[in-house]
Each structure stands twice: as structure tokens, then as C-alpha cells.
Symmetry: C2
Subunit: 337 residues, 2 copies
């Protein structure tokens, strides 16, 4: 900047004004400066500008378990879309389910002065995500409600989706319905299990614990658990799977079973309609989860603007994204038993 100023015989202030399109500079001078800028290939240093103006980075962070999971990839796309509208970029990071890594990532992002954070947290205690501990960094949770902190969140209707799926199987004549779930300690895991249990109960069916398997969502484990359920003397005629990993594991196991087993899985699966199997899915717009989270986040970021008005609490918001059951049963599905 100095260089350009010297070269043109003006002060660096003039260059600064020209670059920012500030008013209070003659058109002629501005022209000259911008020409020189282009010629030298000079780019203003964002760091210095922000240091001076105290602005945060126009970057928001997204912390998820694993970006390769289609759900999180879609979530990222949603967050990115809204961030772009606000002129912001998106920093992504995967925790691989490691709480310590989550802690570290959050600290890093706060230190880097990102403008805000969307987090799909690993554990149940979210106190390390408190904005107050993070230099007032706004935080929004996705997929999980906050616990121990007071921030906005976007949830999926885990309970309702599983409930509907369960009722649909029952309506189709199933009475022995198994459940392939996530660990009971996870919020999504327990909500989806609750939907299953309520679906049974409201239909006057008794939940048989032998039909329930809860474990971290992993294709191998799900396949093994499915085989175990199907090996019972009175095996389930239908299974509810609590996420896409479980669904895929179950699909593989079910293929080798003599009698047909109906499946209803949380999360949609591409190509589900091409499988020659009776499969329903609980579908929802994962990108919309991201978009809503980003909207909430930018709402907080912008309200922080004026001055940390400590009494700006409008109360925290909680948005729930709807689910709906999609049947991929290509033919009629012979009601078993």
C-alpha cells in the first residue's frame, strides 16, 4: 500500500479510500489509484483491516462427525448456501466422534475469530460450547438440543419420524417389529427409540426387548445385529433402523434371509427404489437443517453487532425440521404371519 502511495506521490490514506470505494475522494484520483493497484497486482491485507476495524472474520465454522456421511455433507451445503448470501465462507471440520478433538476445534475456531459456529456435538455435555467461554462466539447446535448451555438449535423430528414409520409397518400387518438403534446415550438414539416404543404402544403392541439392538451406527455391527435378530425362533417380520448406516447393514443381512423382512429406516438412501426389497425410509431435508442453523446463527451474529447489549436475550430458539415416510415398496408387500 505504501508502495503504491509512493509511486503515485499520494498518501496511503488516499489509496485506502480508493480501494474501499470510500466517498470523499475525487473520481480522477480514484481512477489513478485503482490502475496502479491493478498494475502492481496489489491485494489489501484482510488481517490488518480486521485487526484495525475489530470485525470478525467473514467465516463461519461447521463441526460435524464426518463430512463423508451424506447427511453431514448436505448439512454443509445448506450452511454454505446461507453463508454465501451473507457474504461469508464456511470452514468445516470433522471430529470423527472424538470429544477431545471437538473441544480443540472449537477453541481453534474461537481463537481464529470466526464469526460463528454450527456444531453437531459429540457428547451430551455442551458446556465447552458456551459462547461466554468462547469470546462471545455465537453457537448454534444441529441435530441435538443444547444441554448445559443456552443456545439456539435445529432438530430433526426424530421421534415423529420413527413413530410414523412404526405405525406404517403396523398398518401393513406387521406385529413383530425389531429395532436397530443407536446408543441410548445419544439424543437422536433415544428419541428414535422412543418413537418406536410409542408407535408400538399406541397400537396396543408390547415391546419385546429381544427385538431391540442398540449400538453405534456402523454397517458391520448393524448387519451382525440383524442376523442375530433373524436367528430368533420367532424372528421379527419387520425392522426399524435408526440411521442410514444401520439401514445399509440391515439390507445386506436381510438379503440372505429366506423369508422377506420389511425395513423402515431413518435417513433416505439413494437408489432405495432400485433395491428389490420392501423398504420405507424416514426422509427429511438435511440441507434445510443446515440452512435453518445458518439462519439462526446469522441472526445472532447480526444482533451482536451494535454492542454486546447483555440484555438481548429474546430467549433461545428451537427449530424442528419435519420428516415424512417414503415407501419404496415396489410391489404390494405380502402381509406376513
Amino acid at each position: 500500500m505504501r508502495e503504491i502511495a509512493a509511486r503515485l506521490g499520494v498518501s496511503s490514506m488516499t489509496v485506502s479510500r480508493a480501494i474501499r470505494g470510500d466517498s470523499g475522494i475525487s473520481a480522477a484520483t480514484r481512477e489513478r489509484v485503482l490502475e496502479a493497484v491493478a498494475a502492481v497486482g496489489y491485494r489489501p491485507n484482510d488481517l490488518a483491516r480486521r485487526l484495525r476495524t475489530g470485525e470478525a472474520h467473514e467465516l463461519v465454522g461447521l463441526i460435524v462427525t464426518n463430512l463423508a456421511n451424506p447427511f453431514y455433507a448436505q448439512l454443509a451445503v445448506g450452511v454454505e448456501a446461507v453463508a454465501t448470501v451473507h457474504g461469508a465462507g464456511l470452514v468445516v471440520a470433522s471430529t470423527n466422534g472424538d470429544l477431545e478433538r471437538e473441544r480443540q476445534l472449537v477453541r481453534d475456531m474461537a481463537a481464529r475469530r470466526l464469526a460463528g459456529l454450527v456444531v453437531v456435538p459429540v457428547g451430551n455435555d455442551h458446556r465447552h460450547l458456551s459462547p461466554r467461554r468462547l469470546a462471545d462466539l455465537p453457537v448454534v447446535l444441529a441435530a441435538v438440543p443444547p444441554r448445559g448451555i443456552d443456545v439456539d438449535c435445529v432438530l430433526v423430528d426424530d421421534f415423529g419420524g420413527t413413530y410414523e414409520a412404526c405405525r406404517a409397518l403396523i398398518a401393513r400387518g406387521h406385529r413383530r417389529i425389531g429395532f436397530l438403534g443407536l446408543p441410548a446415550s445419544l439424543w437422536t438414539g433415544s428419541e428414535r427409540y422412543r418413537g418406536y416404543a410409542a408407535g408400538l404402544e399406541d397400537a396396543g403392541l408390547v415391546l419385546d426387548p429381544r427385538y431391540v439392538s442398540q449400538h453405534r451406527g456402523d454397517v458391520q455391527l448393524a448387519a451382525a445385529a440383524t442376523r442375530k435378530l433373524l436367528a430368533l425362533s420367532d424372528p421379527p417380520t419387520a425392522l426399524i433402523t435408526a440411521n442410514n448406516r444401520n439401514t445399509i447393514g440391515a439390507l445386506r443381512a436381510v438379503r440372505h434371509h429366506p423369508t422377506p423382512v420389511a425395513l423402515a429406516g431413518f435417513d433416505d438412501i439413494e437408489l432405495a427404489d432400485l433395491l428389490q426389497l420392501p423398504l420405507s425410509v424416514v426422509s427429511y431435508d438435511a440441507a434445510e437443517v443446515g440452512r435453518e442453523a445458518a439462519r439462526l446463527l446469522f441472526g445472532r451474529i447480526e444482533e451482536t453487532g451494535p454492542r454486546p447489549t447483555d440484555e438481548r436475550r429474546t430467549g433461545t430458539q428451537r427449530v424442528v425440521i419435519a420428516t415424512h415416510v417414503v415407501d419404496h415398496q415396489q410391489d404390494e408387500d405380502p402381509p406376513p404371519q
Copy 2:
């Protein structure tokens, strides 16, 4: 920082040293400082630190068409993994195939002083990605070789993969093999088409242009194109599809065809083994593409370190990721014709 220094009656230098874990400070003083830091909830300002030290941001950028495409999501995971090892974060952005947006993203990222950029470029002219025009920002291309600029790149063996897939179909007895390809103007499109053509030629078969359809990879278009090919009086008995979108479109169309049609598609597909269809895929490690790209990028970032030694050109590097054909044909595949 000043506040902490004042509160403890030391200089800000002492605080700085304690925070950075610099040597040359007594353990006792360090303790006291760190305690105060924790008490006040102070976080060092990364911006100021970098401004002072002249370090680039520990952030690298990744620009792709669409993060929701599994290939790009995997790529991102690979880049992120290597970036993490280098203590860097990852900024992602999707162009949605829009060249103007790509231009703008690149400019933004350069202005934000990211440390480097991995780009899967939209078009064929890459001059706007020249590091020289981007404040010496190191750039690595993925999936496409550079044109008009001189940078490192990571490629997939598009030609070889398609060639092998074609030969495999021929070995299985197919003679009328169709091709569902990407636009000929795309590098990957033309390489994969070349692999198909060479596969036929080396087997002494003649390429029948009626069997070739080239369009942007879109499930709907691919399905329509497939139906058209299969409506010919002497339809192909096998199809090669140039990417996962084409493969899925073809799968949908083939389902409703009376006689079996073998498919061989570029890009692996989850659940491919569960489809009751004769499908082979050209598989490769998409995350490895990202890891290699990141390795090359950090190589450049680190060599820039000392001083822009203008004669550091070791020549640009080009890494090719291998492909291999995976058969998902569950049973034997009745050689047609």
C-alpha cells in the same frame, strides 16, 4: 492482554511468552499468568499475531462443484485430514458449475490470505487460477490438469479405468457396448470417452456413434439417453457410464428393459452389490485424491516459506490416482447375443 499484564504487575511481553509456551520465563511466573488468563477467559487474538509474524492463515481452501456429491465430499475429507496434520483448517465452497462464481471465490480466498487452494475447476481455461495473479497463493488442481497456468495437479486415471471397464465387458462376451458420457469439452469427459474408444479399438471392435451419448452428468438426462439407446433396433447389450450420476440414471432406465443390460460405471456406488443387476464399477480412492492434493499444496506452501525465491521451480508435479474395476455381478452374467 494488557489487562492481564496490569493485573499481575508484569509486562505484556511476559504474558505473551507464557501463552505461547516460549522458553525464557520462570515456571512460577508462567503459572501465575496462565491462571489469570483462565480466570479472565482471555483468548489471544490470532489476527494480531499473524499480522505481526507475517504468517499466512492456517487455512486452506477447497473449491468444488458441489459438496453434496460423494466424490467431492470424500475429496474434502482427504484434504481435511492432511490439513489437520499441518495444523490447518479447511474452507470449502461450491461453485455449482458456475465459472463466474469460481472466479469470485478464488479472489475472495486470496484476499482472505488463505495459505493455499485446492480447486476442481469448472472450465478449461485456468488462467484466473494463476498463483502470480493471486498474491502468490499456492494452487493445486484436482481431477483436471492445468491449462494456461503452471501448477501441480492430482488426476484420476480416467482413461485407464474406462479402458479396463470396456475390456472387461468385451471379455464377458459383449460386442454392442454403449457409452453414456459427459460433455466432450470436459477433460474427464474426453479422457473417459477415449478409454472407451481405445478399449473397443484394441479388441478389434468398431465404435458405433449411435451408441454414444454425451451430456452433462444428470440422472434424468442419463435415464432418457439410456432409454433412447435401448430403443434402437439393435440395442447395446452393455453400457459404460462415465460417472455416478450417469450410472444411476442408467440403472433406473435399465430396470424397465425386457432383456438384461450389463453396466459398467465410473465411480463406485454404495449398495451396488445389493442391486439385482449386472453392474461393474471403476473404483478409486477419492479421499486419496484429496490427500495427495493437500500434500502437494503443503509442499508448495512450505517451500514458499523462506522468501519467494523466484527460482524454486522444481517443475510442477502431476500425481495420478489408480483405478480398478470391481464386479458386482452376483451370479454369472449370461453372455448375450
